[in-house]
Amino acid sequence: MSRETAYRVFSRELNSSIESKKGTEEMSPSYVISPLGTMINRIMICGVLTEVENAGTEEEPMWKGKVQDVAGTFFISVGKFQQEASASMANLEAPCYVSIIGKVRTYTTNDGRTFVSVRPEHIVRVEEDDYSAWLLETARSLWSRLLDMKDILKMADPSINDLRAKGYTEQEADGIKTALDVYGAPESVMYLKMIQEALRRLLPDENIDFGLPGDAGSIPETAEKKDDDSSSDDLMVEDMILAYLDEMDTDSRGVYMDDLVRRGEADGIPAQKIESVSSILMDKGLVYEPNLGYLRKI
């Protein structure tokens, strides 16, 4: 049995993967199938560890954690059988950059909602440069899979044999066919936004705006340029919120959200804008909530 590839995917793609394929034989691998057709058993992720908590006991720990990338949050769970990862979790203090290689698990509730989590095999503390390298690799991987999907969507209802004939392996063809059957044509705008966010983070001096529409379209021809300046407004408010946090977080415990809103309102920024842009900053991995209702810079 060959070792499963550790795929690089952003949190939002992983968390929207609700289809899985369970191994039927003893020791045969299980997979989560992403909307872009990647059959994921193992994953390599990187980001800011924003929360770490032992939900078990000291003798039998069960670590839960959250790792934030530019697209959202990975949910981490480490049980007693992942001894190396468990020992590492015990020594980590949020916030810090981490890199994780682990297996992907899904859990479906009685009302049909599916949650995806990562069970780390290895977890190490890394530096911001390593996060940047992962962002680039993951953005490249996503772009490549989007282009593949664009080609595939030109085929009318492709079969596994059609995909094999185009050069995909049996596993790749199986994943793509399943994804098209279960999820339909992927929402390319959402994925392009992830690439855009990653590139904005990697090239802060460039004014990167793909001008993506708010709704879904096929890739990339229907991605129309948008003519408004809401994104530049948001960037300005982002800078202001980061400056408020520098100014107000005097005890390094974060700033109470209500105080932040009042500070913004004094400068003429509506409360709703402060809240929405704070969420954007959290998605970008620039701030986090050390406690409920508090915001702190990473």
Binding site: M1, E127, L135, L136, I195, L199
Partner: protein
């Protein structure tokens, strides 16, 4: 974490792909250059 460049002979068996390494050297990734290349490629397609 270090990026490495490995040169050697590759072989594939029932356990997967293996490389018998002859040389291992550190590989500095130029993230800015790579990001600029990706940006140009994506913008060229939009």
């Amino acid at each position: 974490m270090k990026h490495l460049k490995i040169r050697g002979n590759a072989m594939k068996d029932e356990y997967g792909l293996k490389i018998n390494a002859k040389d291992i050297m550190s590989d500095d990734v130029d993230v800015k250059k790579g990001a600029k290349e990706l940006l140009d490629e994506v913008e060229g397609m939009l």
